[in-house]
Amino acid sequence: MDDAGTSERQDGSGTYGVGGLVDSLDELGTDEVASDVVLLRRVWQNEKCAPEILPYEASLVERVREQIQLMEENIEAFATEIKDDLMLSLYRMDVNRTLFLLRSYLRARLSKIERHPIHIIDNQELWDRLSEYEQEYTNKYCEVLAKHFEQTVLIRLPEQYGSMLKQTSLASEENDMITQPHLNTFVFCRSRGAIGSFQLDDKGDESVDLMTNDLYILRYKPIRKLLETDQIELI
């Protein structure tokens, strides 16, 4: 990004024509914007398709939000000067699409948290995948959830049966009422590189040749590691 260009734009002193807007939006680092948006798209897609919650992409979200803000400021600054409504509308659309991705990504995570809140709280590894605010939300959500079940149903049941975590305190030793995501479900995925032969189970009976850009339907659990290292993407 060209620093001189940025400061000049913030002064708002220069008069810009249509070309000026296009130039200055390019100066925003279109390449950088594009790549982060592409990255966000992949992260969003993975999050939507994976049965479990994935690590929160804090720095990516941070970057994308800064870029959105910068673009919005620039569009606003030039909205009064620009004559070309079509161009303006295209830039707005671009910002709106990125905002949609971001919102949808955060929504997908909330819905996973709400589906298995207690499982996530109990599991340190999953808990660490949440952002600080998501953790706060999970705690609050669990609280209202437990209170609601307690006051509506559990308080009305015989004492030994009144736990939200156990079916009955008579027989169950573990918390046997907490739902967990099905990690063995099948997912569609695309290989991002030539990974070669990959074992799908411990015994080595089943393996698959992962070629670049090929599509596969595989069980989620064995390919989790590949997703973590960004060698595959879910679709």
């Binding site: 939000r65 509308s89 707005r92 659309m93 709106n96 699409r97 905002l99 949609f100 971001l102 919102r103 949808s104 955060l106 929504r107 909330l110 709400e114 605010y133 998501e134 706060e136 939300y137 609050k140 959500y141 609280e143 209202v144 959830l145 209170k147 609601h148 079940f149 006051q151 509506t152 149903v153 009305r156 049941l157 015989p158 049966y161 079916q167 009955t168 008579l170």
Partner: protein
């Protein structure tokens, strides 16, 4: 005693219907709910009776028929617990959706169909969500579908008077038609003050 588990099954069917009816919210079926709770209590009373008889017969060698009976009662209590929770859970997911679709304040006709604990739950859920969205400084309830056009044509339903749109003061008179950005229109559409106008 009624047939084992029949009321519970009815309650689950009710839960399914609650989820299936899209445009309205069914009232909390307190009557059926109470019947299942009562049945559960009866099962439990029978179970305790069996248990005390099992204790009394402990010395005898023969297989105690009370044991089998007790198991059936025990499973019935568990099953009813599942049914009750499933019903409440189904309604809860619907209530959560209301927060996303209608915002933090529910219209009276829906509130009337919620039980008092459900109202409390809605408040709690709404507060948790609102404070999360305030923390991240982003309203997640808008933009539910991918945006096609940044602008939409809308028709004014309620009386809004002068409002600031896009930093310009515009007067939104009832029944007038306007062109505005989707992000500005969506919250007002959710509140029922505007509707999307299709030519």
């Amino acid at each position: 005693m009624a047939m084992f588990g029949k009321k519970g099954a009815e309650l689950v069917r009710e839960a399914k219907q609650t989820l299936a009816t899209e445009d309205q919210f069914r009232p909390f079926n307190q009557d059926l709910f109470e019947q299942v709770v009562k049945e559960t209590d009866e099962h439990y009373a029978h179970l305790q009776e069996r248990m005390s008889q099992i204790k009394a017969n402990e010395s005898s060698e023969a297989v105690d028929p009370n044991f089998v009976g007790g198991c059936a009662q025990h499973r019935s209590v568990l099953r009813n617990k599942r049914c009750l929770l499933a019903y409440v859970n189904a309604r809860m997911s619907k209530i959560k959706q209301l927060r996303w679709d209608l915002g933090a304040v529910l219209p009276d006709d829906i509130t009337a169909n919620l039980s008092s604990t459900e109202r409390t739950f809605f408040q709690g859920y709404s507060e948790a969500l609102s404070s999360y969205m305030a923390d991240i400084n982003l309203d997640l309830t808008v933009d539910a579908t991918p945006p096609k056009d940044p602008y939409v044509q809308i028709r004014v339903i309620g009386n809004l008077g002068e409002v600031l749109l896009d930093d310009q003061e515009t007067s939104l008179l009832p029944h007038s038609i306007h062109f505005m950005t989707r992000t500005e229109a969506e919250p007002l559409v959710m509140q029922g003050l505007l509707e999307i106008y299709q030519g």
